[in-house]
């Protein structure tokens, strides 16, 4: 089945050349993949012709969009003036059914604003949440919200739990995903008012497989399939974990370069080490879903390099495939 992804080629901090360079491998790996690239037509045409061989380039359609949303633009300003931006036009492609999912490395607030006004939110969802797959000792776990909603009500956290559980069922094919609420302890007395109110609410929802509180380290120990928190805590949790991962990689590199024996060992085990790096490198877990919209929208890190953008694109493909499968089931 044909799979079409719309890409905001101008959104990332490192420019469209990163985006175009990231297309080659996915186009080779997925023969049914078609891409709609939104941005400056002239620039993108020359980048494509110098980067991709003709047989791959024929599955890439360039769609001209005259403006670009800047990283500092407020959501209200974006809705006022950027209807013809690469971001807005790429999202519109999902709204009108031309694309199965959309990916952008642009400003998160703008992505939320255009996503909400163009695609609309699902019934009973006040506002979307940002959700990412986090590596654990077992399979990946979904963590949400990662910063779209800094202040949340218990009802919103309940909505996020429902969205996360549904995503775990649909994308990760887990029948009864274990949902937990991020807290600073697992005893019932622990936590702030919001967490306690949310816990009460989640306990009354029999449609969820809610299993109570989880602490920060529990996420990586694989104790849950879905971890729910407000955007403030979620963003801090995510960035702390990214920082720790970078530190480990840095220290490992330092150790291995410390003497000839280590260098020799590193050379001998380079495949293993590369696998290890990939498993913890935050860049390779790029691609967060905006959940709660009537359409699939993927946010790539603004500063994503080529391999990180490719990871986000793979996430967009993966999400679109799961949704497509679902539509045909229905």
């Amino acid at each position: 089945m044909r799979l079409t992804i719309s890409i905001d080629a101008m959104g990332g901090d490192l420019g469209p050349q990163i985006v175009v360079a990231a297309l080659e491998e996915p186009l080779k790996n997925y023969p049914n993949l078609h891409l709609l690239l939104f941005g400056d037509h002239k620039l993108l045409t020359s980048l494509i012709s110098s980067t991709l061989e003709a047989s791959l380039a024929e599955r890439v359609e360039i769609c001209h969009s005259p403006t670009i949303v800047n990283s500092a633009d407020k959501p209200s300003a974006v809705l006022r003036s950027y209807g013809d931006s690469s971001m807005a036009m790429a999202i519109k492609a999902v709204a009108d059914g031309t694309a199965d999912s959309c990916i952008s490395g642009g400003n998160t607030g703008a992505l939320m604003a255009i996503g909400m006004s163009t695609l609309g939110t699902l019934p009973n969802i006040s506002r979307p949440a940002i959700c990412a797959e986090i590596p654990t000792v077992n399979r990946n776990c979904l963590l949400l919200d990662l910063g779209a909603n800094v202040d949340c009500s218990a009802q919103q956290l309940h909505q996020f739990a429902t969205l996360g559980a549904e995503m775990a069922t649909r994308i990760q094919k887990i029948k009864r995903p274990r949902v937990k609420l991020l807290n600073l302890g697992t005893e019932s007395l622990k936590g702030n008012t919001l967490v306690k109110q949310t816990d009460d609410l989640l306990r009354t929802d029999s449609t969820l497989n809610y299993q109570g509180y989880i602490e920060g380290h529990g996420i990586f120990a694989g104790e849950a399939d879905v971890v729910v928190c407000d955007g403030f805590s979620g963003n801090i949790a995510l960035k702390v974990s990214e920082g720790v991962a970078s530190l480990i990689a840095h220290r490992a590199r330092q150790q291995l370069l410390g003497g000839w024996l280590f260098r020799l060992l590193a050379w001998m085990f380079k495949n293993r080490l590369s696998q290890f790096r990939q498993s913890i490198d935050p860049a390779l877990h790029n691609g967060a879903l905006l959940l709660g919209l009537k359409g699939t929208l993927i946010k790539s890190h603004g500063g994503a390099d080529m391999s990180a953008f490719r990871a986000a694109l793979e996430m967009a493909i993966y999400a679109a495939e799961s949704m497509q499968g679902l539509e045909s089931e229905n």
Binding site: S76, S117, R127
Partner: protein, 314 residues
């Protein structure tokens, strides 16, 4: 002091030809909610709002869905622009339906059909000319209630909207309302203004409308509101979705206890109100009820953006 935000949703009387036009130029996505409403109800709602005529806009069965759609459109725009989530909500009469939609308790398209029928049935409940409403200014609530009790020998008349201290609306059968106006003036009311409304809303004369509407209300699903809504009937919040439908039906023939609703918000620690809909009627009333409350509007680009700046969430 920490700020606490609540949204208030206006009722009938806040509609005006050309409303929201500037906002829709600035934010084209605003129109999408009206397109959705037009599709559901089968007429071009945006055209009617922008071109009028005012008489059509004032037809109760048109006014009610139009105000609902306007509030929902503003709410969605506010959400898209990353405005802060309110902690509580309240709507005046019809505006209570807008609050329920925005809090996620009722689906927009369900509510559109209900408020259209609500408008029709409320209009039809009393033959044209037999009902009346009047605003009584500058008289204590209990004296107005007494005056209505005395005048009720001529027919139904009740205090139906406790909008602010010294601002009460009475309604009932025409002759009884006339008599109550005289009595209120004698009791010291500063002014008594007949309102250009053709039916005595929120009186017991509205019961036939309730019987008709209950079928529609029973057929829809209510969810627990994600933001608590303060109800007109008792000035309190109701979390149980099973009970919301009957409160919404009771509201049609019970007084709107708006002063109690606003006081409930203040007592819960609310410091700021945002009027999510056209006009500034509720902002004016809120200031009269509690001068400490700050009020802001959303219905033109300048006010909308000023409010956003005051209450950002991301």
């Amino acid at each position: 002091m920490t700020k606490k935000l609540a949204f208030v949703f206006p009722g009938q009387g806040s509609q005006k030809v050309g409303m929201l036009s500037e906002l829709a130029v600035a934010y084209p996505s605003l129109r999408e909610t009206f397109d959705e409403a037009s599709e559901t109800l089968g007429y071009d709602m945006w055209q009617l709002i922008q071109q009028g005529p005012q008489e059509d806009l004032n037809l109760t069965e048109r006014t009610q869905p139009i105000l609902l759609a306007s509030s929902v459109a503003l709410w969605r725009l506010w959400q898209s622009c990353c405005g802060a989530m309110p902690e509580l909500m309240a709507g005046h009469s019809l505006g209570e339906w807008s609050a329920l939609v925005c809090s996620g308790a009722v689906q927009f398209t369900d509510a559109l059909q209900i408020v259209r029928a609500r408008g029709q049935y409320m209009q039809q409940a009393v033959p044209l000319g037999e009902g009346a409403m009047a605003a009584i200014i500058g008289l204590a609530d209990d004296k107005i209630i007494d005056a209505c009790a005395q005048a009720s020998s001529l027919g139904v008349v009740d205090a139906v909207n406790f909008n602010a201290p010294g601002q009460v609306v009475i309604a009932g059968s025409s002759s009884a309302v006339e008599r109550a106006i005289e009595l209120c003036k004698q009791a010291g009311a500063k002014r008594a203004l007949p309102l250009p409304v053709s039916a005595p809303f929120h009186t017991s004369l509205m019961r036939p409308a309730v019987d008709q509407l209950s079928e529609l209300v029973d057929a829809i699903t209510f969810s627990a509101p994600s933001i608590p809504v303060v109800h007109n009937v008792h000035g309190k919040v109701e979390d149980d979705p099973q009970k919301i439908g009957s409160l919404m039906l009771e509201q049609i023939y019970h007084p709107v206890r708006w002063v109690d609703c606003i006081n409930y918000l203040s007592d819960s620690g609310v410091t700021d109100l945002l009027e999510c809909g056209p006009g500034r009627v509720l902002s004016g009333l809120a200031k009269r009820i509690n001068r400490e409350l700050s009020v802001s509007a959303t219905d033109d680009p300048e006010s909308f953006e000023a409010s956003l700046q005051q209450f950002p969430s991301c």
